[in-house]
Every structure is written in structure tokens, then in C-alpha cells.
Amino acid sequence: MNREAFSPRLILLGRGLAFGLLALVPLVVHQEYYLHILSLAFVFGVAALGMQLLLGYAGLLSIGQAAFLGIGAYTSALLTKAGWPFVLAFVASGVLSGILSLVLVPITRLRGIYLAVATLGFTIIVHLIFTNEEWLTGGTLGIMNITALNVGTSKVAGELTLYYTCLLVLLAVFLAFHRIVDSRFGRALQAIMLDEDAARASGVNVTMLKSQCFVLAALVTGFAGSLYAHHAQYLNPNDFTFWKSIEILIMVSVGGIGSLAGAIVGAFVGVILPEALRAIDQWRMVIYGALLVVFMGFGARGLAGLFAALVRRMLPSPVAAPNLERASVRS
């Protein structure tokens, strides 16, 4: 992976610093509202990572991620209500979401827009199930009073537990994806994205790998769904329309297609920007839409690309020349 043109040690340092700072935020910021918004950004960071693996590393355009988010969320809500401890419900959410994604495996052989439309259809189907199967999901009324994550008893302790749980999951998924992307599996995925026929000629089982990638993304999105349920403590089918899939897609595009860190940054923007625009109330969505349009004119690599360009300008070439050193391989 030679996407970034500066030294891997610097990148590692920057990322460690970023996560470290996020871990320290609750020491400085005491307003629950801000912590709550940040936690939500972490949750969508996880979902955006799943989407990034699909789009940025395997070239699979899915508009079906909201369905898996929903499946994870409802699973976790129902299981904890049935008395399961959160950790088990969390794991079950991801696993169930991954298993249900197997239904869609045959369609991964569709390409481009056709895949997008088929996954869009899946989201619509799942949304209708959430809406109509009242015995299970509570129908349009949704599920209320979902168990909060709380190691203490106070409301503040609850907010902190949620915050650190979400941050921990985000960090874990980020590190895991980093390893997966830089491996035999990850290289083969990229090869498929760049040239399917050449990948086949090199012995890559294209269908199998695409399916594995799809299931992996669904698994992680299911985890995000579980966190989402305990974050909102209230679920409604309309939280999981295909519009949510598009929101996740927007996060990835804004952050920069093909960059894991970018997906997280995109999720932060996607969650925090609409909140920040609340001050201007009725103009909020107008500005959001306009910003989205304008931003898409800034280039293919999104915020990650802009950031890389900026840093490259500030740091005069640590490895500006085509780097022939081994060090750059394992970034």
C-alpha cells in the first residue's frame, strides 16, 4: 500500500496521537451532549470503515449498509432486553448480520450500478420487515428503553462507559482492518478492484473474495448497529432506510475513498456537521446539501487527500522521491 507519500512512522505517530487525544477528551469536556455526539461519530466511524473496505478496497458499491446496521441494532436491543449481557449481544449482532449477509452473496457478482441497485433493494426489504413485523420489532413504534451501557450508576458514568466502549470498538476495527488490508487477502481485494480479469489470471478466486469481503463488512456494520442501539436507547425503523446507507456512503466519499483513516474522519464530519449546523435551524439541510456539492469538487481522495497534500507541503519531502526503501511497504 503506497497511498500516502510520507513516512510510515510519522503516520503511526499521527494516528496514535489522534486516538490518544480522543481518549483524553472526557477529561476536558464534561458536557454530556458533546460526548454523546462524539460517541455517535465513533459508531458511524465503524460503519464507515465497513463501507470503505467494500468501496475503497474491493470496489463494491453497496447501498445496503443501513440494513446491516439495523439488523445489528435490533439484535442487540432484543437480546439485551431478553437479559443477555451487552458483550454477548454485541458479538451476536455482528455474527447475525454477517450470516444474513450470506443471502446477498450471490449478487456480489453484479457490477457497479447493478450491485448498488440490488443492495438498495435489500435495504428497502429489510426496512419493510422492521416496519411490519410488529411482534418482533415493535413496528413503527420501535423499541424503547434499550439497556444503557453503564458500569456505574450515575448518568455521567453511563455516558463515559458508552464513550469509551465506542472508541475502543472503533480503534479495534481500525487496527484490524489495517492488518487485513495489508495482507494476502487485502492485496487480492485491491487487485480485483483494479482489474478483475488480471486478478483471475493471477489465480485470485474473484467471487469467493468478494463474498468474504461483503460478509466481513456486514459483520463490522452489525457491530456498529449494536453500539447504535445502546447509544440511542430507542430504535425506529426509519433509522434504517436506504437514506442511512447513502449517509454512510457520503461519509466515505467525503473522507476519501481508499483511506481507512479518511473513512473515520468522514464519519466525524457526517455526524458532527449536521449537529453543528443546528444553530441555523431551517437553513441546516440547505447548507449541508450545498457543502456536499461543493466538497465533491475538491478531488478524488476527499479529506484524506487534502490532508496528505497539506502535510506534504508543510514537511519538505521526507520521502518525496519515488521511495525505493523497504520501510514504506508496511505502512
Binding site: G121, I125, V293
Partner: protein, 294 residues
Amino acid sequence: MGVAQLIELAVGGLAIGCIYSLIALGMTMIIRATGIVHFAQGEVVMLGAVFGIVSLAAAKLPFLVVLLIGMALAGIAAAAIELGVYRTLRMRGAPLANIIIATVGMSILLQNVVQLAWSSEPASYPKLFAAEQYSFGPVRLSPQLLWIIGLGVVVMLGLQAFLRYTRTGIAMQAAAQDPEAAQLMGINLTRSTAYTFGIGGVLAGAAGVLLGSLFFTSFSMGFLPGVKAFVAATLGGLGSIGGAMVGGIVFGLLETFAAVWVSTAYKDAIGMVLLILILLAFPQGLAGLFRRNR
């Protein structure tokens, strides 16, 4: 279910299918010419409906005039969006994926601007057609549905004639098939792309006025039909004009019959399940069926 009821249902499905076809046609033309999946096409539909209802409120115009006004203004709006926004993005070198996301942004923008500038409440067109239903033996049909089918077919035939017999139409077809060669032949790509969006807008405007008069008009009315029309266009095998027309009508009929035969709650799901199955059998849409048999 009696034959009479069956015919009534089919006419209803055909009417809604015609509306989907109109929207899908515009989307298909845009995809063919630029590769852009125009997610804001549904908002152009909404603009057509809103322009129509506003002009009706201003002066008591006959329905056909209202329809033409909605079509014209929606067409101009769509061409303006292409020239003002998407072309600018292309000139900046934005990749296709970014432009597609930008059309989502455009959709959000248009919905909310109309909500602020016009109304956040849905409005209805005044009664435009005779209230009593036509009877053909035991079959009772609402005149409105027949009008929609009739007008829809006329507009689509008009489009075919335009594409086949006018210089501009032929130039647009050529530019869609091979932009580089078309440019060498002296076709102005900027203009032909703007025309494509404009014509797509005209079709969407027609769909908007018809849809608005059938149900209601609101700032958010276009999004779902837009998505369904996109599905219909895919069903027809993106990129073929005939495919989009057939896809729209098939989708409208499917949806209508699924609602009655299976369940109202799951009518959209039935359409989607069939969509997925059809795509699995023909990964290039229904057009692949004809290509295969050729």
C-alpha cells in the same frame, strides 16, 4: 378476482408505470450521455409539480397548459443545474463517483430550498377531471388514470420523434454513444449534455405534474419515485431508451399487483425481490434478455 377488477388494476399499474417510465427515461439518457446516476432527478419531478401548482394558483389555466409549463420550467431548471453545478465539477476534474454523490447533495439542497421557499405542507391540485368514472360494461375506470396513460404515451412518442428526426436529437444520440467521435464531427458536447439534462428535466416535469395531480404535491414527493424509477431503469438495463420505458411500466404493474395479491405492507419488497432475482438471471437488466436472443 374478476376480469373487470383485473383490468382496473392493470390500468392503475399502467398509469403509475408510465410515470416511472418518464422519470426513468430521463435518468437513462443522462447515464448514457455522462455516466451520472442522477439522484436529484426525483427533485426535478418535484419541481415540475410545484411549478405546475404555482402556475395554477396564479391563473386558472387548462390542465394541458399547466402540464406544458411544468415540463418547460423543470427542463430549464435541470439544464441550469447541469450547466451551473455538474459541469463545474467536471471541469474541476472531479471523478464520476464524486459527481454522483454531488447529485445526492443536489437532491438534499433542492428539497430544502423548496421547503423554505414554497411550503412545507403538501398541497393538492384542484379537481381537474370529471369526478365520475367511465364505465365500459362492468369495468370502471377513472378518467384521470386514462389521461395519465394517454399523456405519458404522447410525451414518450414525442421524445422518440425528437431523438430520431431532429438535428439536436441525433446529435445527442451520437454524443452519448461516442463523445470523442461526436466532437470530431463538430458536435458541441457542453450543449448536447445540457440538452440531455434539459430533455430529461422536461420528462421529469411531465411526470411531476401527472404525479402531483394524482396524489399530492410536496417538497419531498419526488425522492421515492426517483429511486423507484432508477430501479426501473436498471431493470430495463440502463442505457437503453426502450429498456427504460418497458422497465418503468413493468415496475408499475408489478408494484400494483403485488400490493393486491401479496400484501400492501410488502408491496415495495415484492418489487425489490423480483428486481434482485431478475438481476441475478440477467446481470445487465432486461435488455440483456434481448441481447442474448439476438
